[in-house]
Amino acid sequence: MRHDITAGNPSAAGPSELAERLHDKISSVPGVERLHPTIRYAVASVGAGNLRAASASLGRILGPGESTVDAYAHADGIVDVTVDISTDFSTDALAVCREIRRVITTEVISAGLLVGQIRVTVRG
């Protein structure tokens, strides 16, 4: 069983804080220009009978400079993280992705959770 810890899940206050912290930390990795919403995040936001929240949430993530991290916690405390980014053209994209992976790993572990799958994609 999986819990959406990204948005629209008010009962998961702790993991939601983790998602927000990941967003802030990843945004400040040198070379990261912005984070992009993923289609999985969008569809997940519409589910769970939470359309009003989803509408506000989608409006927020589609706004300029706003985005989010797609993070899911399994029932056993393992967290999968998916993030799509744009990078500065003058930086090494692989090095940026590796740094993001390191940041995600550190933040998830420091939140007392277990790291599952991390998926980082550079978009154009």
Partner: protein, 221 residues
């Protein structure tokens, strides 16, 4: 947004046109067009995701137009990105919940991002104007087993491919360009290859397997 303003795939069709055909067999164009095939593949995933959400939450009210538009904006954006190419190959999977999960990470880059890197590098060649760039992951069949001497004699009937496993060998890049009148074609093409190879190596870290350059025009200086 007017229909003629909708973003187009590489073949000229819009995402909406392809979306309208999800649920029916591909038409003749879609069967032959790699852009449409890829878009159909991704939109079919979206269609399944939406259906599963509806099945899980049948009482959920219909999403408002703003929500639908937001999802379609993200879908269009994702489809325009093209395929995802791994930046590094994942190693063996760790045990679930390991504190050292680095081998379970998938780091990748989209074709569109790679095209941007290639285009920017090619634009550094003063005598060339880049018009079209395509990138694809190059693969080769995984090494076949050593012959045992017990193989059957050829029957003269060509065998159908049996889904031979492929392994990646790097990037295949195709560039269409115009070259300034008076510039040496061979030298300019060599410069294009050098710039692109260096940029991909430094900024992305993927091996360049092949660069095809087509000079389709000459322009005045």
């Amino acid at each position: 947004m007017a229909v003629d303003e909708l973003p187009e795939l590489g073949c000229g069709r819009t995402t909406e046109q392809v979306w309208a055909g999800i649920g029916r067999p591909p038409d003749q164009h879609e069967r032959d067009c790699e852009y449409c095939q890829q878009a159909r593949q991704q939109l079919a995933l979206l269609d399944r995701a939406i259906r599963s959400v509806r099945e899980l939450a049948p009482q959920t009210e219909q999403p408002r137009a703003r929500v639908k538009n937001a999802i379609m904006d993200i879908a269009r954006s994702e489809i325009r990105q093209g395929r995802r190419i791994p930046l590094e190959r994942p190693g063996p999977l760790p045990s679930a919940g390991s504190d050292t999960p680095v081998d379970d990470a998938e780091l990748g880059i989209t074709e569109r991002a790679l095209i941007a890197v290639v285009t920017q590098a090619a634009d550094r060649v003063p005598a060339a104007r880049t018009r079209h760039v395509r990138v694809a992951e190059a693969t080769r069949p995984v090494a076949e087993p050593e012959p045992t001497g017990l193989e059957q004699e050829p029957t003269g009937i060509e065998q159908e491919p049996t889904g031979i496993e492929q392994e990646p060998t790097g990037l295949d890049i195709s560039i269409t360009a115009s070259i300034r009148f008076g510039a040496g074609v061979v030298e300019t093409v060599d410069q294009l290859r050098d710039e692109v190879t260096a940029a991909i190596g430094q900024l992305v870290g993927i091996t360049v397997h092949r660069i095809d350059v087509v000079v389709e025009d000459v322009h005045a200086s």
